[in-house]
């Protein structure tokens, strides 16, 4: 049985199609990333899976049940973190969890859910009206996990979360997958999807551009990754022998290393370090979603240079820590 299967799923608003003939299969037990820019139709798709909105044509099946006719039975078995959600400001965090557990037929103590999402018991005694956006998101995530769902649907789960929260969220997604749950995870952030998902579906303008494994995605977008290093003097190290490095050029205190494998960037830095060369700063080309679409449609990736914050650029972050 598949976790999610859509057939020609379409939602039109007048002339414009928010989702246009979507055919998608998410297997049981896999973490599926649903990647696309804001407005691509990710939330519209998820809203149709949850029967919040009704498709213009086509159908969706969730856990073997029809998303329209058997929505209540579906919602007994899934956990949802919806986009643009809000909680009940006058109730405490703990009360929210108690209600969620009751509604989802969950038996775990609220305290264990609090721990899993990293909310303190002190915070849980306060009313949610005073919570920050990140705290609300953590609480909503805990509520989604209540009752041990077979499928987690997370719509832009990192919204409002700080880097710590994002890490917690990733761990929770992996834990849920290890327990056998399928996870359907939407995001406009390439790094997030890449770091946690098994397979990725790329949505643009309501249409599925590609479905690929994360390794396939890495290859497609990492074909021409560039690394920019600030170094005082021209290094007397030859980097081109490194596996995956295609070119290294030095100009005006900046070394540009071109790689056809993103992992080669770390190797290049390692080689410089081994040679005792001090790297003053590190920047990397970041791959935008437009590049990803281009990679799948034209087979070509254009690079945009951006400041490489270690927390944000997923691949480098792991290497530098």
């Amino acid at each position: 049985m598949t976790a999610i299967e859509t057939q020609s799923l379409t939602k039109r608003y007048g002339e414009a199609a928010a989702v246009d003939g979507l055919d998608l299969v998410v297997e049981e037990g896999e973490v599926f990333g649903f990647l696309g820019p804001n407005g691509a139709g990710k939330s519209t798709t998820i809203n149709m899976l949850l029967d919040f909105i009704r498709p213009t044509s086509g159908s969706a099946v969730v856990l073997g049940m029809d998303a329209r006719a058997e929505s209540q039975a579906i919602r007994e078995r899934i956990g949802v973190l919806a986009e643009g959600l809000d909680l009940y400001g006058r109730l405490t965090g703990r009360r929210h969890l108690e209600l969620a557990l009751e509604w989802a037929d969950g038996t775990e103590p609220p305290t264990s859910l609090l721990e899993r999402v990293g909310l303190s018991t002190d915070a849980a005694e306060r009313t949610v009206g005073g919570y920050s956006k990140g705290m609300k998101q953590r609480l909503a995530l805990a509520m989604a996990l209540a009752g041990d769902p077979d499928l987690l649907i997370l719509d832009e789960p990192s919204t409002g979360l700080d880097p710590n929260g994002i890490r917690t969220m990733r761990e929770l997604v992996r834990d849920a997958a290890d327990d056998g749950a399928a996870v359907f995870f939407s995001s406009h952030d390439l790094g997030q999807v890449e770091s946690v998902c098994d397979r990725v579906g790329i949505l643009n303008d309501g249409q599925l551009v590609a479905v690929d494994t994360v390794d396939g995605l890495r290859e497609a977008v990492g074909a021409h990754a560039e690394l920019y290093l600030r170094i005082a003097d021209e290094p007397d190290v030859d980097l081109q022998w490194i596996d995956g490095v295609t070119e290294a050029t030095y100009q005006d205190g900046r070394l540009t290393v071109t790689c056809d494998d993103p992992r080669a960037k770390a190797r290049a830095i390692g080689a410089l370090r081994d040679a005792g060369i001090e790297v003053l700063d590190v920047d990397a080309s970041s791959v935008s979603l437009e590049d990803v679409f281009a990679a799948y449609t034209n087979g070509d990736v254009d690079l945009v240079e951006e400041s490489g914050d270690a927390e944000e650029s997923g691949r480098l972050a792991g290497v530098l820590q």
Binding site: N47, L50, F52, I53, R54, Q72, A73, R75, E76, I78, G79, V80, A82, E83, G84, L85, D86, L87, Y88, R90, L91, R95, L99, A100, E102, W103, A104, D105, A140, M143, A144
Partner: protein, 298 residues
């Protein structure tokens, strides 16, 4: 075990009972009632009056405050959650949309009924020593009709809330209907009478005119209380469009039973108020549910 409307009602009760706005209006209502009782007592007006007179006078306030409390308690019930996004959390659990509509209507009705009972408790505690009269049957009947009025307007408000997709539209409907029932109803009824009969209704008028008049739950309430207390309950607003002089007509002559020619038809008897209340409870909820059931919840 699956979830039901009871879970929605319970959650909603917990939530709404903590609303400061609702408490503010309830306290305002009870405060005004108290003021009304104390002023009446100090000025000697209630010295020779009975609990029944007190209840009859109170009804005039009730037709303004109880619908106000109920509409405030109800008009945001669903559309508020829909706009804020908490409905998306609620509906991610296995609730049907009818669970949401009926759970909300019941949860909020309980809150409104509790506020009304609180008001009547205060009236009893203050009124009994003042009048030296308990009139328990009248008290219970008037309280019962008032709770019914409150529930009716709560259901109307929740119906509006389910039917609309924006807070502004829900507010406009709630305010508009309230204004129509409280202020403009007389103009509407007299206007229709004039169009059909060619004259304004006098002291005696066709039975259907009174039926139309009493299709307004506020009027229905007024007449029911008038029957219980055997008095004429003055309306909250009197436009004076009918062709009669209130100054020259005694309250006894103004009761509907005295104004209809011949036998009073069944639909003008006081118990028919319950039918009016029921209609104003069921129809708005049904319309609201139908629209909500078919709505795209963006």
């Amino acid at each position: 075990m699956s979830v039901t409307w009871r879970d929605v009602a319970r959650k909603d009760f917990e939530d709404v009972v903590r609303s400061k706005l609702l408490w503010g209006i309830t306290i305002g209502f009870v405060g005004l009632l108290t003021l009304f009782l104390v002023v009446g007592w100090v000025s000697g007006g209630t010295n020779d009056s009975t609990m029944t007179d007190l209840l009859s006078g109170m009804a005039q306030f009730v037709v303004f405050f109880v619908p106000l409390i109920a509409l405030v308690a109800g008009y945001m019930a669903i559309v508020g959650e829909r706009r804020s996004g908490s409905l998306r959390v609620l509906l991610s659990y296995p609730f049907s949309r009818s669970d949401v509509v009926f759970g909300k209507a019941i949860g909020r009705s309980v809150v409104v009924a509790a506020a009304i009972c609180f008001g009547f408790l205060v009236v009893t505690l203050l009124g009994v020593p003042m009048t030296g009269d308990l009139a328990i049957v009248d008290l219970v009947l008037v309280a019962g009709f008032t709770v019914m009025l409150g529930v009716t307007f709560t259901a109307l408000a929740v119906g509006i809330s389910a039917a609309t997709s924006s807070r502004g539209i829900a507010l406009a409907w709630a305010v508009g209907l309230f204004f129509l029932m409280l202020v403009l109803w007389e103009a509407l009824a007299v206007g229709i009478y004039y169009l059909i009969e060619g004259t304004r209704p006098g002291l005696e008028a066709e039975a259907w005119y009174f039926a139309l008049y009493q299709a307004n739950p506020l009027e229905s309430y007024r007449i029911a209380i008038g029957a219980v207390t055997d008095s004429f309950v003055w309306p909250f607003v009197q436009l004076g469009l009918e062709d009669l002089s209130y100054a020259e007509t005694g309250p006894g002559d103004l009761q509907t039973s005295a104004r209809v020619e011949g036998e009073v038809p069944f639909y003008l008897r006081p118990w028919f108020s319950a039918v009016t209340f029921l209609a104003w409870t069921v129809i708005p909820l049904a319309i609201g549910y139908r629209r909500f059931e078919n709505a795209d919840l963006e």
